[in-house]
């Protein structure tokens, strides 16, 4: 009898497990006939999570009561791992925050929906959006992603210290690489405050900027190799930092590599006075530093402006989504609603719609307004953005970081590193040849 009871309980337990899951699924099946559940995924800081969820609530209240949202958010580092796994399981969220770096790969694998029809029939209104912003989310003439904000490479500095040292930084970018080095030297000699190493960890920063100034691009347009073969470019980019570092004018790489958050960075703590950044990080920097900071265009040189307007991130719709039209409506809300953007306050970058920019200009904090002005300055001093990174781009990035680290730590010469970078990077990218 005892044995029988124990079996009975075990079976009942298993049955109840099965039943509860079934009840749940039948509920959702029932619910979907009346309302729509949209899954939406993004990465970012706590501020972004809070503001985005408020906008989604607003959407429900103002636009469509029938839509309910299932948000999936986290930080950048875990986001892509999760998304890849979801993609492999054909279980992508309906609306996906997308990055320029991954856009080409996702499109190539057929994971994203073509949004062109929705922009044509007016579900997504792009009337007040610049051609460049629309193009940044297009591949082969089809729109796969709508930019959420504009972004650009920038130099951030502490104006108080520059003033103390008696130097003036031309914020419109009318300075050369030599001026850049001279100013850093002068400030150090007068104040003993050092500069940050210019963004080292990714070829998308300093190297790409330099290469673009020479009229080339980082990658070939078909993605089967680097867009240049001059070792000199890499050496020059390395040397911008290396010379300053050797003379002690910049922070050391071991100090920098030990910091991971904006709040921790040497620049925010006031240990360095000038740094490279993305313009949409500037607000977080200024908030953490609690002192006035300024933005300036990076040094000019070469054949053309190296700067470009980069979409800070996009919204895309999954190809597998059942509610593409509804998803497109939500994206339109983020793009064009002034009310929504009064909640977002350009946290994702400068809004792409000129009407929205005008509409929220007085609502934003001073640091955000600084980035608005900066982006306006970049618009006059930039060249078109290159195509999204080819598959293998992340691996090339890691390779670059490894070699650059070795150079900065004094383990190998820039000439050797440059040679290895070009050779290995081309090897990695060759795999894209079909």
């Amino acid at each position: 009898m005892k044995k029988f009871l124990s079996i009975l309980f075990a079976v009942l337990f298993l049955l109840s497990c099965v039943l509860t899951t079934q009840i749940k699924t039948s509920q959702t099946a029932l619910g979907s006939s009346q309302s729509i559940k949209l899954r939406i995924a993004w990465w970012g800081s706590q501020t972004r999570h809070d503001r985005t969820q408020k906008v989604l609530e607003l959407y429900r209240a103002k636009v469509n009561r029938k839509v309910s949202f299932v948000p999936e958010f986290g930080s950048w580092s875990g986001y892509w791992d999760k998304l890849t796994t979801q993609a492999a399981a054909k279980n992508l969220p309906d609306i996906i925050q997308m990055d320029y770096m991954y856009l080409a790969q996702y499109v190539q694998k057929g994971l994203l929906a073509d949004l062109t029809p929705y922009t044509k029939n007016g579900v997504i209104n792009l009337k007040d959006v610049s051609e460049a912003s629309v193009k940044s989310g297009s591949i082969n003439g089809k729109i796969y992603a709508i930019s959420l904000g504009t972004n650009s490479l920038a130099i951030a500095y502490d104006p108080a210290i520059a003033k103390k040292a008696g130097v003036k930084i031309p914020e419109d970018g009318n300075w050369t690489w030599n001026d850049y080095k001279e100013i850093i030297k002068k400030v150090y000699q007068k104040t003993k405050i050092r500069a940050d190493l210019a963004l080292t960890s990714d070829p998308k920063f300093l190297l790409e900027y330099y290469v673009r100034q020479q009229g080339k691009s980082l990658y070939k347009s078909d993605g089967t190799g680097l867009g240049f073969n001059q070792e000199k470019f890499v050496i020059d980019a390395f040397n911008v930092n290396l010379e300053l570092l050797k003379s002690g004018y910049t922070a050391r790489p071991d100090e920098i590599s030990a910091t991971s958050t904006i709040e921790d960075s040497l620049f925010v703590k006031g240990k360095t006075w000038i740094t490279w950044t993305w313009s949409n990080m500037f607000v977080a920097m200024a908030n953490a530093a609690k002192r006035p900071l300024a933005l300036a265009l990076p040094p000019k040189g070469g054949k053309r402006p190296g700067l470009y307007l980069k979409p800070s991130q996009f919204f895309s719709v999954a190809a597998t989504s059942k509610y593409k039209n509804e998803a497109a409506k939500v994206i339109n809300f983020f793009t064009n609603s002034v009310e929504a953007n009064k909640i977002l306050l350009a946290e994702r970058g400068v809004p792409i719609s000129s009407k929205v920019r005008e509409g929220i200009k007085n609502a934003v904090e001073p640091a955000v307004r600084q980035t608005f002005d900066y982006i306006a300055l970049v618009e006059k001093n930039c060249s078109p953005i290159d195509p999204p990174d080819p598959p293998g781009g992340t691996e090339v990035g890691q390779l670059f970081k490894d070699l650059y680290d070795q150079v900065l730590y004094g383990q190998i010469k820039p000439e050797v590193a440059a040679k290895m970078f070009i050779q290995r990077a081309n090897q990695i990218l060759m795999r894209n040849k079909k």
Partner: protein
């Protein structure tokens, strides 16, 4: 239930099944069995197949034969780098950790009122184990303006080294972290020490042995089965170290802490090279297998079992 018992011819059969000895057991371990098959056995088999494919997670795997393995051994300097970092780490960490655990176990085996308290205190670090919070704490301790440098300053040593940012010292901060988490081998040693009969020591005292002799001639030989167990467990664990290196240094600076598991993870989820990383995990499995077998084989020469001796 009632449905089944309606039918007469079935009844006896059902009764037989329900009343059989094994069926209750199977039903109860079913959740575990499902977990084992779904999350362990099937993935292992899948990994083996995937290691012969090119698989970027987003499109279906393509069979490429031994290419991943060949690429790994012939063309990938980072594979070898991560291998050497991991081996160095394991061969330094495991002996240090075990020695430290044994030392503290010996100390804590003396009876005093505070002993239970100390045992708990010393076990805490290993409970927090590979947690993210500890890793972040460690990162803070060893930066250029971290606590360690402040302490050194108290002793008049002016250091502004960033311990975790320096390629020469970074791996040592991770080794230190691992050794600090000596709690679980320590507890096992403690249990082992309790097993040694008091009479052995009494006999030794009568023979005039000092405490060093007692340790070398009695404690250590009697503990060899425990050492053997701890050695294997710690070695396997150390080979698979991931969290600390991933959070504190992320393989850097200059790949000086690029553990095998970190590189494997990078390949799979950052470079979308799942096939390659499956191949890597099989190589690691084989290496751990060989080393474990080696330790097992060698154990006949140095592990002492009381029961065997008695036969």
């Amino acid at each position: 239930m009632s449905k089944i018992t309606y039918k007469e011819p079935l009844k006896s059969r059902v009764d037989r099944i329900i009343n059989s000895e094994n069926i209750a057991g199977y039903v109860f371990i079913l959740p575990w069995l499902v977990g084992f098959f779904v999350f362990t056995l099937i993935p292992i088999v899948a990994t083996f197949y995937l290691s012969f494919t090119q698989y970027d997670l987003l499109s279906p795997p393509k069979f490429v034969g031994l290419r991943n393995y060949i690429q790994m051994f012939k063309e990938d300097p980072l594979f070898w780098k991560s291998m050497s970092v991991t081996f160095f780490y394991v061969f330094v960490t495991v002996p240090l950790k075990l020695a430290f655990a044994l030392l503290l176990a010996l100390w804590l085996s003396y009876k005093s009122k505070l002993t239970p308290f100390y045992r708990a205190i010393y076990y805490v670090p290993s409970m927090m184990g590979g947690s993210v919070a500890v890793a972040v704490l460690w990162q803070r301790l060893f930066t250029s303006d971290g606590v360690i440098n402040s302490i050194l300053k108290l002793f008049g040593i002016n250091s502004n080294i960033s311990w975790i940012g320096n390629p020469k010292t970074a791996i040592w901060t991770l080794i230190l972290l691992a050794v600090w988490q000596f709690g679980s081998p320590m507890l096992i040693f403690l249990a082992g020490l309790k097993q040694i009969p008091e009479s052995y020591y009494e006999a030794a005292i009568i023979d005039g042995a000092n405490s060093w002799q007692k340790f070398i001639k009695i404690t250590l030989p009697m503990l060899t089965p425990i050492i053997f167990f701890n050695l294997i467990m710690q070695m396997i664990g150390s080979f698979m170290t991931f969290t600390q290196g991933f959070i504190i240094t992320n393989g850097g600076p200059v790949n000086s802490t690029l553990f095998y598991a970190i590189y494997l993870y990078r390949r799979a989820f950052q470079f979308y090279d799942m096939g390659y990383s499956c191949a890597m995990s099989w190589v690691m499995l084989i290496i751990i297998g060989i080393l474990t077998a080696f330790i097992f084989k060698s154990s006949t020469f140095w592990v002492y079992y009381e029961s065997k001796e008695g036969e």
